[in-house]
């Protein structure tokens, strides 16, 4: 009797599922649509990567790293652009990371969050993160004009624009990393007689470093792939020497790619594709490092 009762209940439930459940037409259609969207997005990526690889593989040799740009594609390489990218990213990191972390620490740990001015800043940092990169190029350009600096093609000038571009991203990532550190950790530190500054520097900030590192690396990889503001700041030059300092002239990989794609000869298009592969590998490597850091240190309490 009892068994029969339970059996009936189960039967009815299963039947109910079958009518509007996961094997009926509508959910299957929806699932199919989702898979199609995913497929479509992946298709673009695969085509893009595959054509770039096919075009550029032939020129992905040592010459790309050792040669300077030249009028004949077979003698040309991206050496100054590669070095330039490294210099610019280094300068960007030096400017943006300390400033971004310090700003985030102030906003998260010390400022009064109820103060209207601080809330105004907070909203605007979110806005800044969404501003098109070329605007930062224009901003830097007008700042240089005000300062009367005529020579724009310097590593630190490009880095300044990129630093402003990624500063909001670093601030937001750092704040989130700090917020993930439990309040109890801060209280424990303060209850031992540590000052708020000691608590931040010795406890909260070190605990947040994995999150900060992840966000910062992702931000730097965005800066590495950026061309627009640098084009505006005179990064598009024909360089026949190695960039060798923060005040040196420079060009970067994205700009070099932009330059070469605009040339009529096929050889330059191959070079552009080869440089794209290199840039792609660098970006994937940086993102991989960020992901490894995130996974390794994820949730320690």
């Amino acid at each position: 009797m009892a068994t029969y009762g339970i059996g009936r209940v189960v039967e009815r439930t299963l039947e109910g599922r079958a009518r509007g459940g996961e094997h009926s037409l509508r959910p299957l259609l929806f699932l199919g649509a989702l898979w199609f969207c995913l497929f479509f997005a992946l298709l673009f990526l695969v085509v893009l990567v595959a054509t770039t690889l096919l075009d550029g593989a032939a020129r992905l040799d040592l010459r790309l790293f050792t040669e300077f740009p030249a009028s004949a594609p077979e003698r040309a390489g991206a050496r100054p652009a590669i070095l330039g990218s490294l210099w610019v990213i280094l300068a960007t990191a030096i400017m943006a990371i300390p400033l971004g972390i310090a700003a985030a620490v102030h906003l998260e740990e010390f400022s009064n969050q109820k103060n209207w001015f601080n809330r105004f800043i907070e909203v605007n940092i979110q806005n800044l993160a969404a501003i098109p990169s070329i605007v930062y190029g224009m901003l830097t350009l007008s700042a240089l004009a005000l300062l009367g600096i005529a020579n724009k093609n310097m590593v630190w000038v490009g880095a300044l624009a990129l630093a402003m571009l990624i500063l909001p991203v670093i601030i937001i990532a750092t704040r989130e990393a700090l917020r993930a550190v439990p309040l109890e950790i801060r209280q424990g530190s303060l209850a031992l007689g540590a000052t708020p500054l000691q608590t931040t520097l010795r406890n909260t900030l070190p605990a947040a470093i994995p999150g900060i590192a992840t966000g910062t690396i992702l931000a730097l990889s965005r800066a590495l792939g950026e061309a627009a503001p640098l084009l505006l700041l005179g990064g598009l030059v024909y360089l026949t020497f190695d960039p060798n300092g923060f005040a040196s002239g420079y060009t970067t990989m994205p700009i070099q790619i932009f330059n070469w794609t605009g040339r009529p000869q096929d050889g330059f298009h191959e070079l552009a594709a080869a440089t794209s592969i290199l840039l792609l590998v660098l970006l994937v490597a940086m993102n991989a490092v960020a992901i490894v850091i995130r996974n390794k240190f994820q949730k320690r309490w």
Binding site: I185, Q187, S189, A191, A194
Partner: protein, 276 residues
């Protein structure tokens, strides 16, 4: 394990405690809300004082006002006087940092720092700039006093987050001891622990009583009866006109008296399980 003496009673405990830490007509506000009203209470030197009472009666709030941890909450304010060795800890020239060093605190949830066991203990002395001849000795001493040394002596460099909950809580007690405070405040230190870990912490309190003044907030009346020399019973009083709830001190006395011979009907009702 050493068998500890039970709660001190009768003759070994003076009738009036010598209050190392004392509340005098203390009100605690959060903004305009008065969480605790007019509490006067001495915490006897080298005694364990338990604060008991139903949820929302302000005992944790009161505890947090004893070492100015309430300062960290926006809008929290203390009226009246809290004196430590006769000095008002809310006085103008008093440094809250120094107050917290002298009056340590152990929290409800174990909160070890995401550092090694060694660094957890060494953290307090380091941030306080204490002159320490040999940090290793100090770490050993603190861990020994917290009855944790034997369990962790071979893994001092390992992360404190790998310890069990009970070990973590004893580590937090060791960390507090390491800065050599005079008073240790404990905010329901066993509520997140299993009975065995709880028993270890309770044993520990009996030992620590010889050197420190201890104030413990607990929801567990048996625990208060087991560890406390004196007990203060709080309840939430509802204002007839405004309907606001506020915590008030109902009765304070030796633990044996509170549990065996309560003077106030509300205490008796609570202890016999009739409310709360």
């Amino acid at each position: 394990m050493v068998i500890h003496t039970a709660v001190r009673t009768g003759a070994s405990l003076p009738d009036r405690p010598y209050g190392q830490l004392e509340c005098e007509h203390v009100d605690v506000y959060y903004g305009s809300f008065r969480a605790v009203t007019d509490v006067s209470l001495p915490f006897g030197i080298h005694e364990v004082t338990a604060l008991i009472g139903p949820s929302g009666c302000g005992k944790s709030t009161l505890l947090r006002s004893l070492n100015r941890m309430n300062d960290l909450i926006d809008g929290a304010r203390v009226d009246g006087r809290v004196t430590f060795m006769g000095e008002d800890i809310y006085g103008k020239r008093v440094d809250a940092i120094e107050v917290r060093r002298r009056i340590g605190m152990v929290f409800q949830k174990p909160n070890p720092f995401p550092k090694s066991i060694y660094d957890n203990i060494a953290y307090g002395p380091r941030v306080n700039g204490m002159r320490v001849d040999d940090m290793g000795d100090l770490v050993e001493e603190a861990l020994t006093k917290a009855a944790l040394w034997d369990e962790v002596k071979d893994k001092l460099k390992q992360s404190a987050l790998g310890l069990s909950g009970g070990q973590q809580q004893r580590l937090c007690i060791a960390r507090t001891i390491a800065v050599k405070p005079d008073v240790i405040l404990m905010d329901e230190p066993c509520s997140a622990l299993d009975p065995i870990a709880t028993a270890k912490i309770e044993d520990l309190m009996h030992e620590l009583r010889d050197e420190y003044t201890i104030v413990i907030v607990t929801h567990n009346m048996q625990q208060a009866a087991r560890v406390a020399d004196r007990t203060a019973f709080f309840t939430a009083q509802v204002d007839e006109t405004s309907g606001d709830r506020t915590g008030v001190l109902v009765e304070f006395g030796k633990t044996a008296q509170i549990f065996e011979n309560p003077q106030d009907q509300r205490t008796e009702d609570y202890i016999s399980g009739r409310f709360g």
